[in-house]
Amino acid sequence: MNMETVLSVRHLKKKIGRKWIIEDVSFDIGSGEIFGFLGPNGSGKTTTIRMLVDLIRPTEGQITICGKDINKDRNEALQYVGSIVENPEMYPYMTGWDNLAHFARMIPGISDQRIHEVIAIVGMQNRIHDKVKKYSLGMRQRLGIAQALLGSPKLLILDEPTNGLDPQGIKELREFIRTLADQGLSLFISSHLLSEIQMMCDRVAIISHGKVIAVGGVDELLQQTRGSVLFFVDQLDLPLKIFAEEGMKVKILQEEELYDRSVTDGMRVIEAIIEPEQAAACNRKLIEAGIEVFAVEHRKPTLEQLFLGLTGGGSID
């Protein structure tokens, strides 16, 4: 990649007490890139983000933002960053405008003109003089983004930005993020939802237990991951035996793992980690063994399977 590197993270480690919370995190973000940071809850996403903006000091490793080391030239480095860490918490007893003016006073050379600009960018002209405690979560998100954009940053860090947004809000946010990236801004977006990262990001780093286990293009990574096929059958023992004979990895799914599908009593669901092309042959074997097959369904790769593929089995939590 020959574009300018905006954020570079090298062998980041953090020890709290005797426990290594972050064991080894490295990645680079180029300008204009939307970078996803994917991992289950508790994998170290927020701790990493807090280290990027100097809320937590790393035990080891280096963070460089636009060529400035965050531990040595903290203030210069942070000038290039706008961030929302976890929720966009503002002062509820002040108006949106007062909050923006408050943060503007902490960055050199921000004029009222710039405050008007960021308010226009997030489309909050009508409600900006209301107290923040009267805002909905969506409004707070927008104000949070306005606040992050105040200093015309080169890197925008958003931590689980779709949390609490309705589908319409998520769609708007996705388009908004794309617009910002098209203007040359780099974005770092954390999420525990694969689908979200898949739709929003160009590249992704996957973190598990405080370690980055993969970095690459989103499509590239997904290609490495096989989907799975669900078999809806009337019994468990016999099909499991057949799958075992074929040497296939399987999992018995409970009803709550099926999201949108409901199953009737007596119907059992087995998930087999196989290519869709193998499904027909499998199905034939089951039927020949006298097993009732109610349905066969191809499932797109999920975060869980991505993890299974990357870590070679083992659970994500």
């Binding site: 807090r50 937590i56 210069e76 942070l78 976890e86 007893y93 408050h102 902490m106």
Partner: protein, 330 residues
């Protein structure tokens, strides 16, 4: 590099927008009339008791009264020491033909300041100082505050400067409101009434060789300055507790417990001499002006100021060290 001014402006605006200062003014506006009324009835009572309005007779009566009690075997030793100091002071006022309690708005201010410096003014300071850092933590706004291109020590420094501003404002407002409200009853005169300062207590003897008369306005200015010093010490300690403790409630309770324990200790610690190094025993700086018996023998104005300064300095060192180093976890 951002200058300090916009940061202090931010902190000041936050305190004003939280309406904390308004609450303080309201509390004062309710409390001062209560004290004024109490003062009024007690001086009326005294006039009735002695059957005269001549202050000389009243003071003479009081000296007689105290001397009688000094002779009684049932009065405890510490109490006698206090009585003896009072008698000598009253005699001094009588000899110099100055009414120590001439009722006026200004005299009330003097009385009010000396009564409020150990508990009430610290409480008002806590209303502002206790959540100055812990409030940002519990509200989550600390993350927004500390991810700006402004060094952490500057942010804490701006909070400290803002605290100093509000401590000054609280004391000025207390004096102003006490004067304006009590003046309705006692009149607005009395600025140039002479007050004696510089009594020095040596055991049970009052050394009057350094006593000089000052105009009451100057006396109040001195009182206000000393009250500022002790209030500022409270502010520094509260800042430290606010940095160390995450919940504002815990922060207020910790500080209140320390201050109230001081009030209790003052009455108990006569023989526990090392208690004089505790900050809460030393808060009543203005009492040195009027020559009150110190709570523990061996305490003096320079001693108390030194103790308070040491506590304030130590708490600032802790505040700045922790605040600039600590990891902001969720």
């Amino acid at each position: 590099m951002t200058s300090m001014y916009p940061l202090v402006k931010n902190e000041t605006l936050k305190i004003l927008k939280k309406k904390r200062f308004l609450v303080i003014v309201l509390v004062l506006a309710i409390l001062i009339p209560v004290f004024t009324y109490a003062q009024m009835t007690s001086s009326k009572e005294a006039a009735k008791q002695f059957g005269t309005k001549d202050w000389r007779v009243v003071v003479q009566q009081q000296i007689y009264d105290y001397t009688n009690r000094l002779g009684s075997a049932r009065v405890p030793e510490e109490w006698k020491r206090w009585l003896s100091v009072q008698v000598q002071q009253l005699q001094f006022y009588l000899d110099h033909d100055v009414d120590p309690r001439a009722p006026s708005g200004v005299t009330f201010v003097r009385f009010f300041l000396s009564e409020t410096v150990t508990l009430f003014i610290p409480l008002l300071v806590l209303a502002i100082a206790s959540d100055i850092v812990s409030g940002e933590r519990s509200g989550g706004t600390i993350k927004m505050l500390l991810t700006r291109p402004v060094a952490r020590w500057r942010i804490l420094m701006s909070k400290l400067i803002t605290l100093a501003l509000f401590v000054s404002l609280i004391i000025a407002t207390t004096i102003l409101l006490a004067y304006l409200i009590s003046g309705i009853v006692f009149g607005y005169g009395g600025w140039d009434l002479p007050v004696f300062a510089g009594f020095q207590v040596q055991g049970t003897e009052v050394d009057t060789s350094h006593v000089h008369a000052v105009d009451q306005w100057l006396y109040i200015l001195m009182q206000g300055g000393l009250a500022w010093l002790s209030a500022m010490t409270i502010a520094c300690l509260a800042l430290m507790v606010s940095v160390l403790v995450r919940s504002t409630a815990a922060s207020i309770v910790t500080m209140m417990a320390a201050i109230i324990s001081g009030l209790i200790l003052v009455n108990m610690a006569q023989s526990w001499h090392s208690a004089k190094y505790l900050f809460m025993i030393n808060l009543d700086l203005p009492s040195y002006l009027s020559g009150q018996l110190p709570p523990i023998p061996g305490m003096s104005l320079p001693f108390s100021i030194a103790v308070l300064a040491a506590w304030a300095a130590a708490s600032l060192v802790v505040s700045f060290t922790v605040f600039t180093k600590q990891d902001i976890m969720s």
